[in-house]
Symmetry: C4
Subunit: 306 residues, 4 copies
Amino acid sequence: MATDLDLAAQPRPGDLRARMRGVVESDWFTRAILGVILLNALLLGLDADVRGHADFGALISVFDSLVTGVFVLELGLKLFVFREKFFRSGWNFFDLAVVLISLVPDAGAFLVLRALRVFRVFRVFSVLPALRRVIDALLKAIPGMGAILAVLIVLFYVMAVMATTLFSSDTRAPMQEMFGSVSASAFTLFQIMTLDGWSSEVVRVVMSRHPWAWAFFIPFIVITSFAVLNLFIAVIVQSLQEEHEEHLKAVAAEEAAERAALEGPSETVPLDPDQERGALLAHVQALRAEMAQLSQALRESSLARR
Amino acid sequence: MATDLDLAAQPRPGDLRARMRGVVESDWFTRAILGVILLNALLLGLDADVRGHADFGALISVFDSLVTGVFVLELGLKLFVFREKFFRSGWNFFDLAVVLISLVPDAGAFLVLRALRVFRVFRVFSVLPALRRVIDALLKAIPGMGAILAVLIVLFYVMAVMATTLFSSDTRAPMQEMFGSVSASAFTLFQIMTLDGWSSEVVRVVMSRHPWAWAFFIPFIVITSFAVLNLFIAVIVQSLQEEHEEHLKAVAAEEAAERAALEGPSETVPLDPDQERGALLAHVQALRAEMAQLSQALRESSLARR
Amino acid sequence: MATDLDLAAQPRPGDLRARMRGVVESDWFTRAILGVILLNALLLGLDADVRGHADFGALISVFDSLVTGVFVLELGLKLFVFREKFFRSGWNFFDLAVVLISLVPDAGAFLVLRALRVFRVFRVFSVLPALRRVIDALLKAIPGMGAILAVLIVLFYVMAVMATTLFSSDTRAPMQEMFGSVSASAFTLFQIMTLDGWSSEVVRVVMSRHPWAWAFFIPFIVITSFAVLNLFIAVIVQSLQEEHEEHLKAVAAEEAAERAALEGPSETVPLDPDQERGALLAHVQALRAEMAQLSQALRESSLARR
Amino acid sequence: MATDLDLAAQPRPGDLRARMRGVVESDWFTRAILGVILLNALLLGLDADVRGHADFGALISVFDSLVTGVFVLELGLKLFVFREKFFRSGWNFFDLAVVLISLVPDAGAFLVLRALRVFRVFRVFSVLPALRRVIDALLKAIPGMGAILAVLIVLFYVMAVMATTLFSSDTRAPMQEMFGSVSASAFTLFQIMTLDGWSSEVVRVVMSRHPWAWAFFIPFIVITSFAVLNLFIAVIVQSLQEEHEEHLKAVAAEEAAERAALEGPSETVPLDPDQERGALLAHVQALRAEMAQLSQALRESSLARR
C-alpha cells in the first residue's frame, strides 16, 4: 500500500528522500528561496551603484558566496528528491544554468560573467507561478510567428546585402559607419525599421549623394511595418483562438455534467458544441422519420379497423 | 411606511438632511459645481500664463479662495447627507483629497503644492458620469496586466543592473549620464524601450567603445516590444471578452423574456446559450425515447387488437 | 401616373429639370467631373513646384478659372435638379464649401486662401463612392471615442498648466521655448506623447535642473500611452461588433428566405439566431408536452378498450 | 488508359518528360535548389563585405555564373515539363524574372543591376511552402486596404501641395530642403507621419517663422495616425473573419461527415451552421405540425371507435 504512488507521503522513519520532498515542496521553503533571491537582487543593485567602495564591496562579496551556497544546496536537494524527473522541467534547467554561471571563478577580467550573475534575479520567474505562466505564454507564442519571422530575416539579409553593395563605395564617415559592411547595414536597417531617426540620421544623409535612395528605404519601411503588423495580428488571432478553445472546452465540460445530471449515465461521450449541433439535427431528422413511420402505422391500423 | 427606504423622498418639514439630499442630488447642483470647476480650470491656466502680473495674480488668488470655499461647502454637505455612505465611493475620497491639498497653506516655496492645485480640474471626471466610466474602465484593466507588468519590472531591474555593471566603468560624460547608476540605467532603458533616439543617442555611442553592445540592446528592444505587445493583447482580449459576456447576458435576458411570453410561467431559470443548447439536446433525446416507447406501445396494442 | 414618383423618368418634352437630372446622375458626367478634379490636382501640384515661372503661372491661372467655372456650373445644375434635397447630404455641403473658397478673390497676401484651393482635390472623396465610404466610416468611429478623447483633453490641460507652473520660472532658452506658456507646454506634451525626442530633447534637459522631473513625465508617458491604447481598442471593438451585427443581419435575412422556401408563407417574423434558438427550445418543449398528452390519451384509450 | 491523366506516372521508356517531371517534383531536387540558393546568399553577403579583394572577387564571379547556370537549367526543365501550365503560377513568373535579371551583362556601371542580383535570395520564398504561404497571405491582405490607401494618398498629395505653397517661399536652407518641391514636401510629411523627429526637426523649425504652423501639422499627425490605425483594423478584422470562415467550413465538413455516418447517404447537401440551425427549426416546426395531425387523427379514430 505504501508503494501505491511513487513518492507520495511515506512518513517511514529514515526515509530521508520523502521527508526532503516535503521540505522542498513546502510553502515556507519556496518563500525562503524567494526572499533570498529578492535580497540578492537588492544587493546586486547596490553593488552596481557603489562600485569602488572597497568595504562595502567585500561585504557584498561574502553575501554573494552565501547566496550561491544556498542555491547550490537548494538544487542539490531537488536533484536528490526528484532525480531524473528534475530534468523534465525547462525551469529546472534554467535554475541550474543560472547557478552554474555563479560558480565560474570571478576573475577581474570577466566583467561579462560578473554581469551575468544578475540573471539569478530571473529566478523569481521560476519561483512565482503567476510570472512563470506569463513567460510560458510568451514562449508559446513564438512558434506561431516562425514563418513570418523567417520572411523578415530573409528580407533583412537581402536588403542589408543590397544596401552594402549600393552605398559602401561612398567613403564619407557616416556612410561607412552605417553601410560599411553587411552587419553594419543590418543594424542600420533595424534602426530604420524601428523608425528611430530614419529620416535625418540615415535617409536624408544618403539622399544627399544618391537622390533616388528614398525608393530603396521607403518601400523597406512600408513592407517591414506591414510584416511586423501581420506578425502581431498572427499573435492576436492565435491568442483569441486559444481563449475561444478554452471557453469551448469549459462549456463542453459543463454541458456534459449537465446532461449527466439530466438523464443519468449518458450514452454519448462529451461532444464539442459543433458536433453537438450536428447530433441534434441528426436526432430531429431521425425523430421525423420515426414520426412518419408511426403515422403510417396508425393510418394502416385505422384502415384495417374500418 | 416612511422608513421603508433609508433616505428616499421624505418631505417632512424640518428634515434638513432629506432636503439637503435633494439639493446635492439635483441636476442644477451638479451643473453649478461643474461650472465652478471649469471656470477654475480657465483661471488656473491664465494664472500659469501671466505669472508676474501682480494685479491679476491677486484677483486669481481671491477667486481661488472662493472656489476652495465652494468645494469645502459641497463636500461638507455631502458628508452631512450621506454620512458613512460617503466613504463607500472611491470618487468621494478623490474629491476629498483634491480639496485637502488646496487647504495646505500656499507658502511661496511649495511650488509643487501650488502645481498640485491644478488636480482640482480632474474633478470633472468625478462630476461627469461618462468620463467617470472611462476612468473606471481604465482602472479595471490594470489587474489583468499585473503579472506581465511584474515580468517587465523584473526584466528592467536585471537589465539596468547589468548595464550599470558593464558600462559605468566608462568615464566619458555621456556614458556616465546614461549608465552611471542603476536608476540612470533604468531611465536610459525606458528611453530605449520607447525607441526614442535609441540608435544614435545610446547604442551607437556605446558600440563605439563596446562593439558587441548590440547583443545587449537589440534583444532588449525585441523582448520588451514583444512583452508590451502581449500586455496590449491581454487588455484587448479581456476587453473583447467583457463585451462578449455582456452580450451573452443581454441575450439570455431577452430569451428568458421571450420564453415567458411564448409559454407562460417558465419552469426553467434563464439559461445561457451554451447551457440552453445542452438542454435542447437533452429534450430531443428524451423525446426520441418517448417516441420509441409510444411506437412500442402502439405496436403492442395493434398486436393485441389483431 | 406621371406624378407617381417626384422626379423619376418623365421624358416629357420641355421638362428641363428631369433631363438635367438624367445628365447629373449619368456615369459620363461623374467621370468628366472626376477628370476635371484630377487634371486640376496635377496642375495645382505643378503650380506649387514652378512658382516663379511667370508664363506657366499665367496658363495655370487661366485653367484654374476654367475649373472653378466647371464646378460652379456643376453645383448650379445639382441645386436646380435636387432643390432642397441637395442640402440633405453632407457631401454636397462639402462640395459647396470647396467651391466657395475658390471664389474668394486671390489677393497676393492671402497665401492661406490660395493654399486652401488645393482642398478641391478632396472632391475625389465625394465623387468616388468607395472613398466616400471610407471617410464615412472614419467619421462614424469618432463618437465612440468621445469620452476617452475628453479624458485625454482634460489630462493634457491639467498637465500643461502644471508643467507651466513648475518649469516656466526657468529662464533658459529651451525651457522658455518648451514650457513658457500653457500652449507651449501643451505642444511639448503632445511631442512627448508621440515619443518623438522626449528623452534627449525634453526630459533630460529638464532633469538637468529638476532631477525629480522624471516623476512628472514618465507617468504622463505611461498614462497617455495606455489611454491612447484604450482609444484604439474602443475603435477595434466597435468595428468588430459592427462586423458581427452585419453578419447576424445577413444570416437572419438568409434564414428567413430559406424558411419561406421550406414551408411556404411563414407565420413568424425573421428572428435573429439567438431569438431563433430560444424559439427552437420553446417548440421542442411544447412538442414534449404534446407528446406526453398523446401518450396519456393513447394509454387511456387502450385502457378504455381493454 | 494511359492518357487518362495528362501527365500522371507513365513509366513508358523514352518518355523523357514524365521522368523529368518526377525529378522536378522530387524532394531532393527542391532541397538541392534550396541549398544552391542559400550558398549563393552566403557568397553574395561575403562579396558585399570584401569588395576590393580581387582574388576573392574572381572566385565569387565564377560561382555566380555557376549558380545562374543551375537556375537557368532548373527553369528550362520546369518549362519543358509543365509547358503552358508553368505560367499559371505567379511564383514561376517571379523565379523567371529573378533569373533574367542575373543574365543582364554585369557592366561595371550597372551597380543597381548588380545589387538586384541579391533578389535571387528571395527564391527561398518560392521554394519553401511555409514562407510562400506567408507572402501569399500578405499579398491577399492588400486589396482589403485599397480604399483606405487611396484616401491616404489623396490626403498626402493635397497636404504636400499645400505645404509647398505655404512654406517654399521661405528661402532658408532647411525650409527649402524640407518643402522646396511637392516631392520634398511629400517626403517630409511621410517623415512626420512616422513621428520621426517631427517636432524638433520639422514643426518647431517651421513654427519659428510661421507660429500658426502647428494648426497645419498636428491635425495632419492625428488624422494620418487615425487613418493608419483604421488600415490596420481593416486588416485585423479581415484576418479574423477569414479565420472564422475557415473554422465554419471545417465544422460544416465535419458535420456532413458525421451525418453521413449517422444516417447513411444524406438527402441534403452540407449546410453551414447558420443554415443548419434554420433547417433544424424548420424540421421541428414540421414535426409539431405532424404531431398535431397525428393527435387529431388519433382523437378522431378514438371518437369513431366510441
